[in-house]
Amino acid sequence: MKRAGGLATAALTAAALTVLLTGCEGVQSALDPAGHQAGRIAGLWWLFLGVLTVIYLLVLAGLLIAAIRPRRRGRLHQGPAFAKEPPIERRLTRGLTAWAVGTGVIILTLTGLSYAVDRDVLGLTGRAELEIEVTAKQWWWQVKYNDPVPSRSFETANEIRLPVGVPVRVVLKSQDVIHSFWVPNLHGKTDLIPGRVNETTLTADREGRFRGQCAEFCGFQHANMALDVLAMPRDRFDAWRAAQLSSAPAPGDALQEQGRQVFLSSACVMCHTIHGTSAASRVGPDLTHVAGRLSLAAGTLPYNKGNLAGWIADPQRIKPGTRMPVTGLSPDQLQGVVAYLDSLK
């Protein structure tokens, strides 16, 4: 029995270690903070982990000792304990009181710490310099960069880019069901709830590419509803922003031109927008600069021409249940559309 227990413990420890070593650094990890908020939360996490581990070990030690401590033979209780053995009862009661008080103090401390971090993480909202409006839809993210001058606002999808060190206010809305916006490396999650407007603040501390994912079950493709977050230096961000404001470039060659024609006369135009063309529907993501994005289909596939073609050819294979239909384009048409879309940097 004990050997089995030891084995189990060993297996558990080994498993835990392996996992911890591989997992900590990641593009979607709360333990690898890259932003002010996530950093504070991770700090709190390690603190909680430390304190609670100590408590857990204490309990386990108590249990272990209680189970295996040597006992005098034949000392069995007869009848109610209260009368028979006051000393041990008294000792245990004192222990219980101490234990309860200790628990209370620790809990009070932890509550206070949690509260302090909560305030700190919140406190940044007022100082945001940039406002991004994220609208969740089944199953992708519409991202709007708002600006006091309306013509300097623009829209993208499934991708947020932000300048390093600048607090960014993210306004969160939903158009269908409840989703949750979660970029663990930068901050904890906030829900997007139809009929409500929520807010969160992101402040990236360092450059990098992070991944966010919907964290509230939202139907068929909850699993494939991710977004990329790119933290970049201010100047590169500004350049990117300026480029996003421009309309889509004109087709560069005959194939692209043919693709553009197909796009504008087929099912594509019913759902998508490409600025600078007559396509301006808002069912699906804005494709004005689709080729400049890091991934396709809400973080399902990395962006490249092959994946783009595969996605258009049979979206239902890649993301069953997605709103993007199988359009039945002929191979020629598909080739053209892919060439055209790939030119939209």
Binding site: P150, S151, F154, S174, V269, C271, H275, R282
Partner: protein, 616 residues
């Protein structure tokens, strides 16, 4: 005989329209009715409202848009004898919003789609058809007409009739023969561009604008050479200044209208290309200042969250030079319009004492429920007073000209905002009011409706509506859905008003007999005492009336009142489109407001002409 009269009338008209030079030569003292009006009353500028010759050559009667006839044979004492002189069926059963025209013994009627033009010979008994003209517009235009296939009338000038067809053509026809002179295709129905407005002819130019603000078109007003149909200029309502014809002449009163390329920068990128601002309403013209005044319709889509910014130059009033189209001033009545409040209603040119000084003003009962008085030379807002129930805005700041919106009533995505007054069609839609210089009152046929509104994400698919809102309308406070208010522009208050069960969608007509005519959607054609509002006479027409009544002097010298019946329009869509009022959002919410209309009237187009019985 008839020809001679006709020619005389035409000559007279030609003179009136020849421009400010000739208009100014006429001395005001020649003008009997206005001269008799005391100076503390509002009067239309004589140049824009010349003496009545008994004809009716443009839907608004004159450039000042008073819809006032100096015919006084029919008056309060004899109107009860008024009876039908003759009728004429147009054969079309859609909404008849047009005003008949009468020029020297001939009456011209333009029907809704398919936009046939009839000339009726008034000199003969029963007014037989003299000629008719069928422009044969494209049938599919019906699918992109937002609010029934209406047409608001033709315009007559220089022996020619000008009118628009639903499929975006402007056509000139020889008035005498009905021969087509020219036609110009101005818009593309595949993008949702239609034309329903009545043209206005100013100084040899035919001014027309497009409809389709609900289809994501880009609004414009264009001037066509009356002789050839060639485009003289075209002023867009959105986009770069060069397209909007904003140049060195542009001197708006308010600073917020003054910046370069506001027509682009006040929109999200590219949104101005499908941003609406159509010019489908009324145009007035002041020959003295040589300015035309026209409104621009709502920005598209309705859902305001999709178009942050002021959305210039939609929802406002332009003053332009008719020769070049260059803008003189602009005032945005509804910046960042929240409720489909097209600013295209009639613009009455009145010289009005304001704070002791006589100001040249333009008066507009606006969709948002205020009577605006603007200085027509500068665009300054002199006053804006509510004439209907309003809870979506809290008045206009006369210093800045800004309309104060009520935040709680602003449309929201994903939320039904309840009980917004007025509705999307406004306190008053296109149906024009009339002004009588004798009473000094403006007669405003309007509505008393409120609505629930929910914004939704609008998808632009070319040729389909671009709206993004669900609306259901219902009766406003008091339960009456319509009202005719007599507005005193001096006191800035209602003199009297008459409540109507159904919303009013017809124009008003004031006559020198101190009568006021209008029709209701259930088919009553009514005459009120213009001073008291007392109902003196009513007649039940075959179908609901949404047309514009006119008064004219017939070839026999008698006074006639004419009106088209034929329910329809946005308000009557539930009848003409045979909609199902169980769906309260049908016809963009109108079905709910007039769910009982199907029980009260049926469709059918008919001209009614009334006269007093001939004395033997």
């Amino acid at each position: 005989m008839a020809i001679a009269r006709f020619a005389g009338a035409a000559l007279l008209l030609a003179g009136a329209m020849a421009g400010p030079a000739s208009a100014q030569t006429g001395t005001p003292s020649d003008n009997v009715p206005t001269a008799s009006v005391p100076s503390d009353k509002a009067t239309p500028p004589t140049a824009a409202a010349p003496p009545d010759d008994g004809n009716w050559v443009m839907p608004a009667k004159n450039y000042a848009s008073t819809r006032y006839s100096e015919q006084d044979q029919i008056n309060a004492t004899n109107v009860h004898d008024l009876q039908v002189a003759f009728t004429f069926s147009t054969g079309i059963d859609r909404g008849h919003e047009a005003a008949p025209l009468v020029v020297g013994g001939t009456m011209y009627i333009v029907t809704p789609f398919p936009n046939r033009l009839f000339a009726l010979d008034l000199t003969k008994p029963g007014a037989p058809v003299k000629w008719s003209f069928d422009p044969k517009p494209a049938a599919s235009a019906q699918g992109v007409a937002c609010c029934d296939y209406v047409n608001r009338g033709a315009a007559f000038a220089d022996g020619r009739l000008f009118f628009n067809t639903l499929d975006s053509q402007t056509i000139a026809v020889e008035a005498e023969t009905g021969h087509e002179l020219w036609r110009t295709q101005l818009g593309d129905i595949n993008k949702g561009e239609t034309m329903t407005m009545a043209p206005l002819v100013v100084k040899g130019k035919v001014l027309v604008g497009n409809s389709g603000g609900e289809f994501g078109v880009r609004g414009w007003l264009t001037a066509l050479d009356a002789a050839t149909g060639k485009i003289a200029w075209k002023a867009y309502s959105t986009g770069p200044d060069a397209d909007v014809l904003i140049g060195p002449d542009y001197q708006p009163f308010y600073d917020k209208e003054r910046s370069t390329n506001l027509g682009m920068s006040s929109w999200p990128p590219d949104a101005w290309t499908i941003g609406g601002g159509t010019v489908w309403g009324w145009i007035s013209y002041d020959p003295e200042l040589n300015l035309i005044y026209h409104g621009t319709a709502n920005p598209g889509p309705w859902n305001p969250e999709q178009r942050p910014g002021d959305n210039k130059w939609t929802g406002g009033i332009f003053a332009r030079n008719p020769d070049t189209g260059q803008a003189r001033w602009f005032y945005q009545v509804v910046p960042h319009d929240l409720y489909d409040h097209d600013a295209v209603n009639e613009l009455l040119l009145l010289d009005l004492p304001v704070n002791g000084t006589l100001r040249k003003t333009v008066v507009r009962p606006e969709r948002n429920g205020y009577v605006y008085v603007l200085d027509r030379a500068t665009g300054e807002v002199l006053s804006a007073d509510p004439y209907a129930a309003i809870n979506s805005s809290a008045g206009v700041d006369l210093k800045t000209g800004e309309l104060t919106m009520v935040e709680a009533k602003a449309p929201k995505m994903g939320k039904v905002v309840r009980d917004i007054c007025p509705t999307a069609p406004g306190s008053k839609d296109w149906n024009p009011s009339a002004f009588s210089p004798r009473t000094g009152l403006i007669y405003i046929p309007h509505m008393n409706l409120c609505m629930d509104w929910q914004s939704a994400e609008a998808n632009y698919i070319a040729g389909t509506p671009y709206i993004g809102a669900e609306v259901r309308m219902f009766a406003g406070p008091g339960g009456n859905r319509g009202e005719l208010s007599a507005w005193d522009p001096l006191k800035r208050a209602k003199a009297w008003s008459v409540k109507e069960d159904l919303p009013l969608w017809s124009g008003a007509l004031a006559t020198a007999g101190d009568l006021l005519f209008y029709g209701t959607m259930e088919g009553w054609f009514k005459a009120l005492d213009a001073r008291t509002g007392e109902e003196l006479w009513r007649f039940k027409a075959g179908s609901g009336i949404i047309g514009q009544p006119i008064a004219y002097r017939g070839p026999d010298g008698r006074e006639y009142i004419a009106v088209l019946s034929g329910v329809g329009g946005w308000a009557g869509a539930v009848v003409v489109g045979d909609l199902d009022p169980r769906d309260s959002s049908a016809a963009s919410g109108w079905a709910n407001a007039v769910a009982d209309l199907k029980q009260k009237t049926t469709k059918g187009g008919m001209l009614y002409v009334f006269a007093l019985p001939q004395r033997r």
